[in-house]
Amino acid sequence: MDFSGLIQDFGPLTITGLAQGAIIALFALGYTLVYGVLRLINFAHSEVFLLGSYACLVVWGFFGLDQNSATPSVIAVIGFLLLGLVAAIVVSGLTALGVELVAYRPLRRRNAPPLAFLITAIGASLFISETVGVITQRNIKAVPPLIRPADVFVIGNMHVTNLQILIIVLALVMMFVLDRFINRSRLGRGIRAVAQNPDSAALMGVNKSRVIALVFLLGGLMAGIAAVMYDLKIGVTRFDAGFLLGIEAFTAAVLGGIGNLRGALLGGLLLGVLQNYAAGLFGTQWLHAASFVLLVLILLVRPTGLLGESLGRARA
């Protein structure tokens, strides 16, 4: 145990952890939204993220960008970023809808038991990630250096870079927008209605199928954004990147209270930061173990997560 190291690196570990946590939080929204409405773990959500992480790379590759190209001018970077985001959002959103259509809708028609949904989602996840694995020959795909990290400000030994600020701010903004959407818009009201009581909602004229598709789509959009941020931060993607981060995102969602949007944000940030602290204290190999220990401890005290499940009651 390296307490002095942890104290010395406390600042830098916090900021890098927050950036990672912001990505996890965006990713976790997909789990939480679907759970909030359907009460099901969407195991295939990790592959929604995965395809997003490839989509922006394909678009950038189309413009001749690869890991060895020089960083373009500021205007070009903004253009490329937007393009990448659009590509990732579109692909992730469509993937999410596709998963809903293939793996969920047929079972919902038959009112199948929840376990069946879990297994089709696992099947979809296997199918997508393994197909990507076969196509890419299980090699990594590297990301062009669109954003060259530069310090924006420095406090002690904590260097806060432009990329970290971008990730954290973007995550907070998206979270705010989504929260508004769910709580203020007509469609959002539909989502909350179905989350609270599907049958009553249907009786009141809410189109349940459309609400469910919308929820998958929203989760997909957020995962797409998370995927682009992940690419920029980590620098490569691989066929199992979704699965790996998906476990963390799912953990974060449960930690905050699955079905609760703000819980996902809190869970994600908390997980990102605490993983880094644990890595500093015990060694990097314990990073993932720490997140699970944390999860178990929190669930022992609060069996429904930090903020509790409440997509339906998301008015605060």
Binding site: P12, L13, I140, P145, G235, V236, T284, H288
Partner: protein
Amino acid sequence: MRQVFARAISGLAVIGLVAGAAACNSSSDTGDSASGGNCGYKLAYFGALTGSSANLGVNIEQGFELAINQYNEKKGSDCITVAKFDSQGAPEVAPGVARQLVADKKILGIVGPPFSGESEAADPIFEEAGIPTISPSATRTSLASNGWKTFHRAVANDDSQGPAAAAYIKDTLKATKVFVADDQSAYGAGLADIVKQKLGTAVVGTDKTEADGKQTDFSAVVQKVVSSGANVFFYGGYYQNAGLIRKQLTAANWKGTLLGGDGMKDAGLAKAAGNAAAVGTIVTCPCSPPEKAGGTFVADYKAKWGVDAGTYSDVAYDAANIFLQGIDAGNTTAEKMNTYLSTVNYQGIANTYKFTETGELDPSLLKVWTFKFDATGNQVADQEVKVS
């Protein structure tokens, strides 16, 4: 009615799948057209072709297959058949696949298994069947002390590469602050432990990461390296993680040198990190630069597979050629081949191969070289390291 229909379709689909899979069984005995000489035999590659360590296995398999293709072209026939056995690099899969391999009596020799773990699980089966193996990359020291007669490795074990890396850090880089980390693989941890031990007080910090494909965010390691003030970072592990770490180190503005063992000697490192970040990264390898040996291996490999030769491709190529030379010399049973291996003295592109009684390379012939990544992502031979 609709349900009945759906059920019928599902039944048909399942039957179709099974039947389709059964219909296209690739029968494995097509090499009977033995065109005289010592033909009609097989050499096997045993190792990962799929799974999370497939990238390393494919490097080796391609080097192996290239050698046999060239041999067949020279003969002008499909003289020696390539047999591929996919162990996924996993110890729990290896025994079953190994038993399938030994059932094929035409196999005279095996290149593999690449990893130490699967070697432990599969080599006893090869030993019992008496088929000689040459591993291009299983470096665990204890493998040679099991008393296996069929075991050979065409690579130096962990005990010879680690000291060389440490000597290079001390004598050539003259580094006084070194950070050492590994990926907890048998290979990486073994290497890092020796380096730590040899460098002693020059080590200013250590850490461990998870293995390739299990971790992508290395912020914490990067931060520790930066905080430790180290200017050299030794990573015991494979190239994917190393490339990622290098990229994230550069992003955190760390300007020191990354150093590692032969598991990092792969174009994939530069691919993951980007050439700009990877430049200057140094890898040690118990092998000689291929251009020293002359020949056209590097160009041939690229022409055949469309990619650059990777880690251990050259050693696998040599290992296959050792077997082929043995076949030319008339060793057409596994038993004879094994005896032949105990006397072989083969000048390959990566090394000169002469095996000791336990299957190790003759230590007097071992050379350790360092290679440096240049600005185009290639590994350029740097210098030979003498362990004093």
